[in-house]
Symmetry: C2
Subunit: 185 residues, 2 copies
DNA sequence: TGTACATCAGTGAACGCGCGTTCACTGATGTAC
DNA sequence: TGTACATCAGTGAACGCGCGTTCACTGATGTAC
């Protein structure tokens, strides 16, 4: 049956939000179209009324999911202490344990290599985050801020990815704490 | 038909080697049992004469594939300059462009989170690498070597993973170069 | 040493199964008059 | 304003397809005597 236009647009957003979460939790290949549609309360059929393919959804949800991260970083740009807190929150056990609500760089870097359709959105997001970190993080020395931002973000992404892969809670905590101490004290 | 025992053992190794390479290139879910067996020159049927399941192969090939890395790092432990060269080679474009021959930490960290069977082997390998780096890398200051090793390895793993995900060659090179400069000059 | 038989890795067709995707149908909404 | 019709998102069964895994069969090798 036909539905009001506003309702359709809202469902489109609901699909995007559910997909962004599920993809970060379980990876692109670990989530089925059916699971995504179930998370929005619909059957899997009408998915193709909203998106051309699963691949198209992957690309669009990566753009959609990255907006929140950029907004959060903009908010933190107001003060040096807020920037340090941003980094602390990033390499935290809370972030490690909630990939669905977390950064897509750490959650999906490995998957993106195998998904050409997602690479442009991922690249754009990574460039933006590095630019904001370089501009607003309170760097201590006189070295190139952009280079320092790349090194710090690489360490943050690597630490979260490794801490999630590891089988030993104390070791996982140690990885996060090491990177936290190195950049925020 | 029956085959000599030596030949059987050799085929077991060939499967492990082919699997270790393919898994790093395309991820655990991106490789089929058929592809692995084809890479060893056999049909897919006899796979189950060698391994209980694909999951069992994933775990065993992770152990198998990590041995080379540890040997390489032990060789580099002989001199400070060799350790720096180890890091340079890690964050190189050559390593980025050949994941099948490269470090499993950077290639499979994201996949391991979703593969419980592989996590013990991955964790053991990561602990070993960090221990060797902490012990033999020429750290400059008096800070905790183990903490510095974790930070450096996180940055190395993160940089290689991000450089592989990105859609822009110059940007990809820049990521590797930033981490290289930070730790080896 | 020679012979008969048991072994077991390799073969390749076949199996369930779950995936992404398609499609004929439904029926409340929006629109034309 | 009221009525008749066209629209189109949702439904849910169905489709190919490729995956991991199984299995009856083959036949050169190893072993018993």
């Amino acid at each position: 049956m036909r539905y009001p236009a506003a309702e359709t647009a809202e469902k489109h957003q609901r699909i995007l939000t559910a997909a962004a979460r599920l993809f970060r939790e379980q990876g692109f290949d670990g989530v089925t179209v059916g699971q995504i549609m179930q998370a929005t309360g619909l059957t899997h059929g009408p998915f193709y009324n909203h998106f051309a393919s699963k691949e198209a959804l992957m690309a669009e949800s990566t753009l959609h999911g990255s907006e929140h991260s950029r907004v959060a970083l903009d908010a933190a740009s107001a003060s040096p202490e807020a920037m340090r807190q941003y980094v602390r929150d990033y390499v935290s056990t809370a972030h490690r344990d909630a990939p669905g609500d977390g950064c897509l760089l750490a959650a999906l870097a490995g998957d993106v290599r195998k998904q050409p359709a997602v690479r442009p959105a991922f690249t754009f997001h990574l460039k933006t985050i590095i630019g904001k970190l370089a501009a607003h993080f309170p760097w201590q020395k006189k070295r190139d801020p952009r280079q320092q931002a790349i090194v710090m973000l690489s360490a943050m992404v690597g630490a979260v990815a490794l801490s999630r892969a590891v089988d030993d809670d104390a070791f996982s905590d140690e990885i996060l704490k090491a990177v936290n101490t190195a950049f925020t004290t």
